[in-house]
Symmetry: C2
């Protein structure tokens, strides 16, 4: 027979079972946290009409899209979960309750250049709160507390949620008469960490920005201190611009409420240089960094937008949301050995029958399952050694051998595969459960 | 602004939140059951190289496939979860432990003609047991017990798992010298329910099958009784063919062990006319019917195959598996009002603050969440009536209003939204949890 080499596309993650269990545990922790805050689940198609999906898109994104025809129809694979959400809310506006709080965890597709740690198919874990016409700024403070809960659940203590408000930057640039140069200026500011204060100031000079403006910008990015000090410095900077003032007010409100929502000061800060995509966000913006692994970049980002679905509806739908790029995050954390598996196998116990008549071992497996214990029974005729090796390779934590003696004496040994320890117990599922849980 | 009409492709399911919750509950029950039996999770890409995905495909399936180029690469969307499994096992053979027991729940794509209840994007929930070189027939008996558990979990009592063995049909036709006509004969036999015995016998005559053979076939399909009686009749039919005899033996073994695995006789039967796809299955085959809704067709099917991955590897990998077409099943059951929602909302309780300072209501929400209670807090300034209407529309079962009085008196009322009943309790998350759980 002519055989095809079994292979998986570059940029598409496909895991071995043990890693898959780990990945799923991470995904589940994120989902459980979203649910803990009462967010509703959503599942939208991976394929959409190109006309609908690309109503807004353009530039880089459009080039990366998986787009094709099926019959006469021009189709595209979703490249994020925000556009499908926009479509969904516009389409189902009359059937939704607002604020509409939804989470969606699903795969998205971008034909990026493949390189280590970059994926063309990857999971995004999104949550958004959408208001009908308006959405109070306090919602911007609940999301950081969800980010906080998720990363604590994932086993991290040292991470920082960085918060800024786009109105502050927009207002500052407007005040300085540099609105059109905002992108360029932000690009220069962004190099601060790398090239230092002096070089930034010089590069700004090259953009033909007048000296006074450069001075303002430099004193803006020089603002230091805890969130409250930074806000006070922003208020004292003497920027007479309505948008700027509004931004500082919002930031103040968000910082105040974040604390009410239980995020400790060690896990958030105000970072005035965060901008996140220039045209989409209009208020609060978030980025999240693992303190000891800044090189991973932001592991959870998002922000406030003025109007979710303007390409589909005239209804004004402001919202605030966050997103976790799970596939990449998993890949990086796994590479750095930073994810702790609570359980490395699905089965909690393996029953190994060593008898002809399987009635008793199967009955025991059924009883354990009925008690909620994830139980596998080894069903193939093999040597005892092979069966134990199987449990070992699959990292199943407990094993019970059921042979003639065990059945006759109505006694079993529960073997802890990690310690090698064996515990004798009567032939009873409830007793076994007590030992292994 | 030029607006695009927000729409979803025909044949692609997109649910409102309340239905999505229901769908997810069903999906979760299936997944939990798979895990209860110790099956490992698997997640493979939705996009594969066409060369790999279509190594075997052909005919009808190939026409339905979403196939396209990205750059120079010829890609296809998976149309089932079996081919990706074959590829995966062949590719990772050295890294897997056999028997390899995996489940996969994911979307697959088929460009079928759109009609009510037919989907182009749909979830399949598969589980398979793959042996390395061999796989004992007892594995064929564990799967029906999983089907049994799933449909009980989904709230059904009246369903029947129909079991047959392909070797019996193959052996019979070989014995009758009708191997080449197997497809045609099965097609005629399949009409039995519709056209009756006499007409079937006549149609077989038209296929130019000799009288004696027709008589054998007619006495074969006339076999009645409980599983044991049917097996005995099969043994007494006087078919002297090795494959046939092997098939009857396997069926006997499967029936015996199914009972050990706890499937009651009311929920399974031997159905000698089930064939399921002629070239793939080689032994046990299953179909599952809801007794009161036969018109839905089989809601869970599968069977035993000789060789999973022959298109990718020379390793012999026999297996047995089942699949549930979840999207269609959900659609039909929902239409018939046959799914019971255990919970219609994600949030278990809504906290409605009616105070300026949100410190106390937010703290209460955090405490409830820390106790594992899914809690939403209504964060926007609205009238009390609007807030209650929101809880009502979202079917959140309990509501607590936190106003000045509640804070001053340190007492709250937990309102049961279904009964309207209110219960007074001190301002304490633990006490509240006791009331609502």
């Amino acid at each position: 027979m002519n055989r095809t080499e079994p292979r998986t596309l570059a940029g598409f993650m496909e895991l071995l079972p043990e890693e898959q269990i780990l990945f799923n545990q991470m995904k589940e922790k994120i989902e459980k946290t979203y649910q803990k805050y009462g967010f509703l689940p959503l599942d939208t198609p991976i394929i959409e009409l190109s006309e609908v999906l690309l109503a807004k898109a353009g530039g880089e994104t459009e080039k990366q899209i998986y787009r094709f025809n099926k019959g006469e129809t021009d189709l595209s694979l979703r490249f994020d979960l925000t556009v499908p959400l926009s479509k969904y809310v516009a389409k189902n506006y009359g059937n939704l309750s607002f604020p509409f709080r939804r989470y969606q965890i699903g795969k998205v597709y971008r034909g990026e250049k493949t390189q280590k740690g970059r994926f063309r198919e990857f999971y995004q874990c999104d949550m958004d709160i959408i208001g009908d016409g308006e959405l109070d700024v306090i919602n911007d403070s609940e999301l950081p507390s969800i980010i906080y809960t998720i990363f604590k659940e994932l086993g991290f203590d040292r991470f920082t949620i960085c918060i800024n408000n786009r109105k502050i930057l927009n207002g500052l640039f407007a005040y300085l008469g540099q609105k059109e140069r905002a992108v360029e200026i932000l690009r220069v500011i962004d190099k601060m960490d790398k090239i230092g204060k002096q070089a930034v100031s010089e590069e700004l000079g090259k953009l033909e920005i007048d000296k006074q403006a450069i001075e303002k910008i430099m004193s803006f990015i020089a603002i230091e201190g805890n969130p409250d000090q930074k806000i006070q410095n922003l208020e004292n900077l003497g920027i007479d611009n309505e948008v700027y003032t509004k931004g500082v007010e919002e930031l103040k409100e968000v910082v105040k409420n974040i604390r009410l929502f239980g995020v400790p000061d060690t896990n958030f800060k105000v970072d005035l240089t965060i901008a996140r995509g220039l045209d989409y966000y209009t208020g609060t913006v978030y980025e999240t960094f693992l303190n000891d692994y800044r090189e991973l970049g932001s592991v959870c980002s998002g922000g406030r937008y003025e109007n979710l679905a303007e390409y589909y509806t005239d209804k004004k739908l402001p919202g605030v949301g966050i997103s976790i790029g799970l596939t990449r995050l998993f890949y990086k954390l796994n590479e750095l050995n930073l994810i702790k598996a609570e359980q490395k196998s699905i089965a909690e116990i393996l029953i190994i029958p060593m008898v002809e008549d399987l009635e008793k071992p199967i009955a025991l497996a059924s009883q354990l399952r009925n008690l909620g214990v994830k139980t596998e029974i080894y069903l193939n005729e093999k040597k005892l050694k092979t069966k134990f090796k199987y449990a070992d390779k699959l990292k199943i934590p407990y094993v019970i051998v059921v042979g003639e003696d065990e059945i006759t004496n109505h006694k079993l040994k529960v073997k802890n595969m990690e310690t090698g320890e064996e515990q004798e117990v009567i032939f009873d599922a409830t007793k076994i459960k007590e030992i292994i849980r």
